[in-house]
Symmetry: C2
Subunit: 350 residues, 2 copies
């Protein structure tokens, strides 16, 4: 049909009949040298003081011929790819989705080509993806929400690639994160306040979701405890259920908690929207859920969830500010390890 041939793996091989145009083709047609064409087509012609006339002729011919620059060849020669990579745990939620989208926009605004890979919170995949990005010659790699950011930084350093951390901090590269402790403390205080306002007896809340050993969860637990202390309450460790983010894990954890003979606390601090799904599912399945009576707080933000439920408090991380800080670091060339800690905001429930 269109002249494709296929190799053993079934992949489409190069079509000899659609040989891509090169600067040599354009040069020949324009009666100029490849050098001139290269300069005109990559924008460096001003400083090479090529005549306006020649530049225009070349541009026109390139356009007409459907010339497209081979960035691989260009990068090989310049020893600079203008590629910027990012590792991100998931795409399908508001937080990481917004990070990915904003990262792309800001990279493009700087004439960098963004390459994002989603690692599904799998440490092995994170390392593999980092190595692949380096092999593809990214100039800079951002590890977002990585389980072991320092490991990634070391891999980058071995190849002389700059790296930065986002969302979860590392000790070896600059990190931009949210003030998880402060946000969690405010959220916890707000849930307790809701209890008070509803005339219910104050009691320690349940904490569900996350990984006890990751920095963010640890910080949120610290904020959770601090808010309890502020309210004159103790937050006993057995009320902290940090067995992962997945909905099923949350459901199982609450089921086990109740099976242990304990009463469900009057309010719940949930560590992400994905965990919230499991929490609400359990509550509904056990007739413990009433949109008007539930006292739920979620350290994460989803506008649809927010508008669908009556009494859900959500903490929204400031993605634009985080990305602005990240790119300020990138633009400045800063490579020293340091943590930039940004405040979170409240996205009122309902």
């Amino acid at each position: 049909m269109n002249g494709n041939s296929r190799d053993a793996a079934g992949n489409t091989a190069r079509r000899p009949n659609v040989r891509r145009k090169t600067i040599y083709d354009v040069a020949r047609l324009a009666g100029a040298s490849p050098t001139a064409v290269s300069a005109v087509l990559n924008g460096s012609w001003r400083k090479r003081r090529i005549s306006e006339a020649l530049a225009e002729r070349i541009l026109k011919i390139a356009e007409d011929e459907g010339y497209s620059r081979n960035m691989q060849a260009s990068a090989l020669r310049r020893e600079r790819s203008h590629l910027i990579g990012m590792l991100v745990p998931k795409y399908d939620n508001r937080y990481f989705g917004a990070i990915a989208e904003g990262f792309e926009a800001m990279a493009r605004a700087r004439d960098l080509f963004p390459i994002i890979t989603c690692t599904l919170r799998d440490p092995r995949l994170e390392l593999e993806a980092a190595r692949a990005m380096i092999a593809h010659q990214v100039d800079c790699l951002v590890a977002c929400g990585a389980t072991d950011p320092d490991r990634i930084t070391r891999i980058c350093q071995a190849s002389g690639v700059r790296s930065l951390n986002l969302d979860l901090p590392g000790k070896l590269a600059p990190s931009v994160i949210s003030d998880n402790r402060g946000g969690a403390q405010a959220l916890t205080a707000a849930i307790l306040q809701g209890l008070r306002a509803a005339g219910k007896p104050l009691a320690p809340l349940l904490f569900v979701g996350g990984r006890a050993h990751d920095h963010n969860t640890a910080e949120r637990i610290a904020g959770f405890r601090a808010a309890h202390a502020d309210a004159g309450l103790a937050a006993p460790p057995e009320l902290t259920l940090a067995a992962g983010y997945a909905p099923e894990k949350a459901e199982a954890a609450i089921a086990a908690f109740v099976a242990g003979g304990r009463n469900l606390p009057p309010g719940v601090f949930v560590n992400s929207t994905i965990t919230l799904e499991g929490v609400v599912r359990w509550l509904k399945a056990n007739d413990a859920y009433d949109t008007r009576a539930a006292h739920l707080g979620c350290f994460d933000w989803d506008p649809l969830a927010s508008v669908l439920s009556e009494n859900l408090l959500m903490v929204r991380q400031d993605v634009p500010a985080m990305l602005a800080a990240l790119f300020a670091l990138i633009d400045s060339g800063e490579s020293r390890a340091a943590i930039i800690d940004l405040p979170t905001r409240f996205a009122g429930g309902g």
Copy 2:
């Protein structure tokens, strides 16, 4: 601190002190030729019948020296990048998020390096992104949910790049889509059935969201009408509010509808979760929302929204099946235009 230098734009320049290792470095250390090293390191050494011993020695040295293959150079020489690109409208929802995640996994399983770009439903950005991908030498480009798939296909064809469509069909390349009409018909029927079951009078529903001129919205409207006809109802055009996907547009459209002196129909067909946000917000703001009384159906799926609301029906597109069909096409080398139309599933409300 680490020997970085910065150019005018503030970007980090190449560090001369961390010159990357090449196959020549490894060859010298291994006392072998660059050819042998290349073959061993890219896996083609079996057919070159290189001795096990040499291969092992080379592998070990490459490992120790932190060698990383330069894929740009490799691609330049082979005239095949093993890059596969995808254009996607958004990341931050379950549908496109799952598509992006699944696409990456399936590409990696085939030793292709996936490059995804999010185009925010902006036609200009779609074209720009397509051209950028081609300049970066993708072997194949998948346009997902593109506003003008055929335009993208033509750009690809001009450079001899294979292209495929996902979610929204084109006339010039193979397309994998959902059965929007059938899914919408079933969803509409289910909303009407809910009305009946609740003992409410049957009346035409409101359709909100989407773009009247995109294929999927048109098909869904067709299914919506067909279900009305099946129930002996007419679905008048003024009940079809397809003014975009954004929540604000949905709110504005409903407000204008009501301001026009019309009564709100007893049930609403919503064209996406993002639109649903606007619909629910309007209903709540106007005291027309009660989780138990509302009859809402959404052509899109979000498990958190589903579990948070009592009476919300959701249609789930079969992302794994769509990706399987897409990659079957890719693997087979098929380039002829044809549409593969996959059934949707119901994700029961509540």
